[in-house]
Symmetry: C2
Subunit: 428 residues, 2 copies
């Protein structure tokens, strides 16, 4: 007899079950009356309804174009779209396709950048292989790693992103333990990161690449650069990607998406893949789904080529910048004047990371402060602990991520006001 439910599912499914996003979503469902600064959604009001309508009409009013878009594409994505994407990327990097070593072959279109993160991880990790991540990091990627059975090691960050000395020290530690051959990848969010909103400056990018380069004489370590938020800058464009900075052009897997800059409902992302990973990632994509929807690719291709995309992103930046100013003003008025409260003013993206004084109770799920916020003050945040592979990390207990992309300016003020009231309950 082998009828127990647990025996009917694979190890991979058991690992995948550990993910915490379900818990976060349950909180949202259980507290529908809360003003949410938790959800990482994009701003509903800025979704590109009109330009999408125009574009769909353009595609579907012609039988020829319409039939092509409604037919199967290819596993790696439509060639014409991939050619558009590499040109668009070269423009973002203020360079050329040629200088950047970009070819359509190295570009793969995925169902959001999440699929790219998953495909790359499945292509690289056997159970027990080591992935280096930042502390804190994008929590959904921690689930992806768990789904692969990867062994996650966390590296501390400062206000410029991952700390070079900490990376170096961790690699030395791993080497001394005889495990260097299992280190396959470093994952980081290089622009306006999730959860802290930090962008790595140019010098820091180069330092990290240099360290990986040096270690690669002994063990080749890929860098998975998640650039999901790179286009959402406010005052000035951020530095070029680590992909662009890497001379070999074979170290960095660059993951980007049109979910944040255009529409998550089109679920289209892409990756730039080192030569050695093109076939493995494509083989896995073929098993996954033979390719992402051709119609949505055709639509985004048209929007980039018509220039509608660029106009849209410019509007989006302005809108998110205004929201960021609203939440920042509210934080400055209500919370940051108190001792021990730390946050960085966002220069792009969708998040503020708030560290509260250690005299307050912990910010974790289902502890008294979280309960006070969701039950009494009706305000929801994401506890910092969610972003740490090691829940006992010192920064996991008194931090929170505040998302300002969805709410109106008025609600952002109201939300920070409620959070402040929640804090005041515990003020000594």
């Amino acid at each position: 007899m082998n009828n127990s439910k647990n025996h009917r599912i694979s190890k991979r499914a058991t690992w995948a079950a550990r993910q915490q996003i379900g818990y976060l979503m349950k909180q949202a469902v259980d507290h529908p009356d809360c003003l949410s600064l938790a959800a990482g959604l994009v701003d509903h009001a800025t979704l590109p309804v009109e330009i999408a309508e125009t574009q769909m009409q353009e595609i579907l009013e012609s039988s020829e174009r319409g039939q092509l878009a409604l037919q199967y594409g290819t596993t790696e994505g439509a060639l014409s779209f991939r050619e558009t994407v590499i040109k668009y990327l070269a423009a973002l990097e203020q360079s050329t396709v040629r200088e950047l070593g970009l070819t359509a072959k190295r570009c793969i279109i995925t169902t959001g950048s999440q699929q790219l993160l998953d495909l790359v991880s499945q292509a690289i990790f056997d159970p027990g292989d080591i992935c280096l991540v930042t502390s804190p990091t994008y929590f959904v990627y921690l689930s992806t790693l768990e789904g692969c059975g990867a062994d996650v090691r966390s590296i501390n960050c400062d206000d410029q992103g991952i700390i070079p000395d900490a990376l170096q020290a961790e690699l030395e530690l791993i080497e001394r333990a005889g495990e260097l051959h299992r280190v396959k990848l470093l994952y980081l969010v290089s622009y306006f990161d999730n959860p802290r909103g930090i962008t790595m400056p140019l010098a820091r990018r180069l330092e990290i690449l240099e360290i990986l380069q040096q270690w690669s004489a002994r063990q080749y370590i890929y860098l998975l650069e998640d650039a999901a938020y790179r286009e959402l800058w406010y005052d000035a464009p951020p530095p070029v990607s680590m992909y662009a900075l890497d001379e070999s052009k074979q170290r960095v897997i660059l993951a980007q998406t049109f979910s944040k800059s255009l529409s998550p409902g089109l679920r289209t992302g892409f990756g730039i893949i080192p030569d050695a990973l093109i076939k493995p990632v494509s083989d896995l994509k073929s098993i996954h789904d033979f390719g992402s929807p051709h119609l949505t690719q055709t639509c985004i291709n048209g929007l980039i080529e018509s220039g509608d995309y660029a106009v849209h992103v410019a509007k989006l930046r302005e809108s998110y910048q205004k929201k960021s100013e609203a939440i920042w003003q509210a934080l400055q008025e209500n919370i940051l004047p108190q001792p021990g409260m730390i946050a960085f003013k966002p220069t792009g993206g969708l998040y503020v990371w708030l560290q509260i004084d250690s005299s307050y109770p912990e910010t974790r799920f289902n502890k008294e402060f979280f309960d006070e916020c969701v039950n009494a003050q009706k305000i929801m945040y994401v506890p910092g602990e969610l972003f740490f592979a090691d829940k006992t990390h010192p920064a996991a207990s008194h931090t929170m991520r505040l998302s300002y992309g969805v709410q109106s300016k008025e609600n952002l003020h109201e939300g920070i006001d409620r959070l402040s009231k929640g804090l005041n309950v515990f003020r000594e």
Copy 2:
């Protein structure tokens, strides 16, 4: 030093690399001058350009509906769409949602049914677990199984599908080898199958379910029922699904898609999942991509609700039936009169499976007959061997799949004429 490319990819990626679809596609690319009866694409001319345009306009002309469609959906698919899907499925089964035990919770929307096949397989199989398949079977699923490291065992078929005695005998063999605890799943295509075009009659469906039911006292075995072609019937609707016939409603995973009946460019399929697999499949889907594109789901939902979908499928049936009659007539005139030539007249779907007399050379890739066809006669077919897990199977050497979905009636006649000429070269 560990710099070899092979050491940089995972076991799963190595397994995934064995897939043969790449080889098939390379043949198509290498022989662009061939008339192709190989590609399993849907008919370009019948793609639903006009109704898709109307529907997209309906969604996107309203800010409210448009924003909703362009925002994130949920991992399992939009609730409203899943509710539409289960009602549509109940109608196909000539039953009710309640009688069929269908709930939106048990329905998951995927990027084509391929993603459902992959998710279910990843949720069920650890490396070395056994999957039972038919011989021949849908070759892409063989790659999916290889990607999971599953151990594939093939069961022979007759003109009603998988042979009950052969299934029983294989399970007894496995039990005697002490491997019964590793048998997790039986996969089959129950309607107008790929590659043979065979539909399992009602009695055969019940026999197979009964065998699985009996063995489950010792080992619970799921049935993955691939019903991709079920709506493409010609003269009369086919029997109800094995899902509908299973009393427990917990044995069968039913996989369907809108790729064949509507548009592959919308890449939308769905599965009905036993209770014990809902969470594992959803957890894996969350890691894969957090959900398939919301816009395409919204579009198909609208097409089903407006009745446009039903009208489209009726037209499609008529179109494919005419094509099937054309290829069948050509086969009857040119090939089937020769001794030892066997084919079944299609009653639905997109394929004819042709078995040629054993006095002819083998039909395999890159053998003299295949070369004669693609190089001299300029006609491309899919060699039967592609559909067998065991390439030494007796039926793998003198069979081929002919797809008639894409070509015009004139081209179908011309194609069979060329194939006949190819055969005549080797006629004794």
